[in-house]
């Protein structure tokens, strides 16, 4: 079974499943929840680029999603800008602010970076809350229009929006796939592996990290823009750090530093949360331990565990071969043969 072939087959199967999904579920609710999960998956994909590939945990990710969402909300509601133009500007705006935030914060390392970004996130949240004139403050922005139709296709039903968001997710995945498999993607990973070595290999650290950060938050921005057009109401709480925590959980459950992990995680955890609704206020009594057990017993996430199993099997084969080789050598001349004589 060739890896490439199976990957392609799986991708096609996943897309097909996404396409027929609305027709096999009993009602709109399932479509609505799934569309929201896809939106969060897009944001989580971006976070995973920074966290899983470049090795930096950005806790302001939800804030950048909020920036994208508010860009759409403010432009469409207060300035009458058409949705799709606002949509593009949402990504641009998140990227631009991400550029500024990245330049300041990426000088810090490890937990300092994370907590610093946590603070950036809180500042964004507070600014949204306090700057009434721009953001409508705590009241929020209501009446955001649904995405305007493209040609004959209109997006004013949940079903139509579902397909729009599914298409966006597929696009996001394709782009992300190309990014992480590109030479620049390798440079991101080199940074995760060790900054001095990466730098010695000619990777300009700051520029590369900022690039990764900007792409990462642009994903959040676009996800936010979709969110605004889908939920059509915005309040400051979408910038809350707990939303970033949720996205981290998605990534961990799916598999850190894997392409499909964030998507799988977003879908699974979203449905896990929904299926615990019957517990009402006891929901977290179950959800909390669930998270703990997940990281304890599936630390690499679902995709990560599958991948590791494959790698381990390959490794076992290789080391068995090596042992046999060593034994053969040992019996041949009684000494270990030099690796490179």
């Amino acid at each position: 079974m060739s890896g490439l072939l199976s990957r392609r087959t799986l991708a096609v199967a996943a897309i097909l499943a996404g396409l027929v999904y609305p027709f096999v579920v009993p009602n709109d609710y399932f479509v609505y929840v799934m569309a929201l999960a896809y939106i969060y998956a897009i944001a989580a994909l971006g976070l995973n680029l920074m966290l899983g590939y470049t090795g930096h945990l950005n806790l302001a990710h939800a804030a950048f999603m909020a920036i994208g969402a508010y860009t759409v909300g403010i432009l469409t509601v207060d300035y009458g800008v058409p949705y799709w133009i606002a949509f593009l500007l949402a990504g641009v705006n998140a990227a631009a602010l991400g550029f500024v935030a990245g330049i300041i914060s990426l000088r810090l390392k490890h937990h300092y970076f994370s907590i610093f970004t946590l603070c950036i996130g809180i500042i964004v949240w507070l600014v949204i809350e306090k700057w009434d004139g721009l953001t409508h403050g705590v009241v929020g922005i209501m009446g955001i229009p649904a995405p305007t139709g493209i040609g004959p296709i209109r997006f004013d039903t949940t079903l139509a929006q579902y397909y729009l968001i599914l298409a966006m997710l597929a696009l996001a995945l394709v782009v992300m796939d190309r990014i992480v498999h590109s030479l620049t993607g390798r440079a991101f990973m080199a940074i995760r592996n060790g900054e001095p070595l990466a730098e010695a290999l000619g990777v300009p650290l700051m520029r590369t990290k900022v690039l990764s950060f900007v792409i990462s938050v642009a994903y959040a921005g676009f996800a936010g823009a979709l969110y605004a057009g889908f939920v059509r109401f915005l309040g400051p709480s979408i910038a809350a750090e707990t939303n970033a925590f949720d996205m981290i959980a998605f990534i961990l459950v799916g598999g850190l530093g894997t392409l499909s992990g964030p998507v799988i995680g977003a879908i699974m955890l979203t449905w896990a949360t929904q299926s615990l609704q019957f517990l009402q206020d006891y929901r977290l009594l179950v959800f909390g331990p669930l998270l703990i057990l997940l990281v304890m017993f599936m630390p690499k996430g679902i995709i990560g565990t599958l991948k590791a199993r494959q790698a381990r099997e390959a490794g076992e084969r290789a080391s068995a071969a090596r042992r046999e080789q060593a034994e053969a050598d040992a019996s041949a001349d009684g000494r270990k043969a030099p690796a490179h004589a």
Partner: protein, 291 residues
Amino acid sequence: MSLFFQQVLNGLTLGSVYSLVALGLTLVYGILHIPNFSHGALFMAGAYAAFFASTALGANYWVALVFAAVVTAGIAVLSERLVFSRLRDKPPLHDMIAAIGLLLLIEAIAQAIWGADFHRLREPYPGIWQWLRINAGLVMPIQRGIIIAGAVVLMIALHLFLTRTTTGATIIAMAQNREGASLVGIDLTRVSMITFAISGALAAVAAVLFVPISLIFPAMGNLVILKAFVIIILGGMGSVPGAILGGMVIGLVESFGAFYVSTDMKDVIAFAALVLILSLRPEGLFPGYAR
């Protein structure tokens, strides 16, 4: 002028509470490298434990305080045994997610037992230091004095414990080199448990000192935990003096910000202060003394 000193007092009160919470957080981070997001839940648990002791068991304030410290230390140790010690060889991110899981769980338990309502713990000494009011125009409810004094006493005690006792030395040894510590015969399990116990007890004491002038409710920990993280970053992660100083700085910035600028903006000011300070000093005010 007296209004100025009033803000200093307010800032010190808040700063004392923040410092105590941050101390436990910084210890656990500095020694075990766990960013314990569930620390806020320990703060909350401490408050409820004291509430339980004083209402259901009829304990007086000080007994309730000790009871809360012990119970919360126990919860902290339990979380170390059942969760964090099992994540030892996993990346720190996993600790963080597990901590969030714990936070949700502890909060949900509190809500299941005591409901979502607000509760109160009565002030043990409800008066106000009148001489202060008369002589200097300052107002100092006794409980606020107790908070500041209690925090100072605890901080000194912690400092002496870490620097003067053998057990304290084993904690610092473990912070500096785990394997080295176990090779000289230090029982790492025991040290981890002690560390968590101290952090839990500090959080509980902070809570019990604070709630007589505040409220008890399941989400109360979330309000302080974010600030505690800001503080330990500001002070230098793993640094005890950093946590104390950082707590005081944030307390004072908040109280002056609330008074002189606008209460609406005080959090923006506090977080912006952090951004500014870290831009100038990326390692925080104190380099981590545990490293």
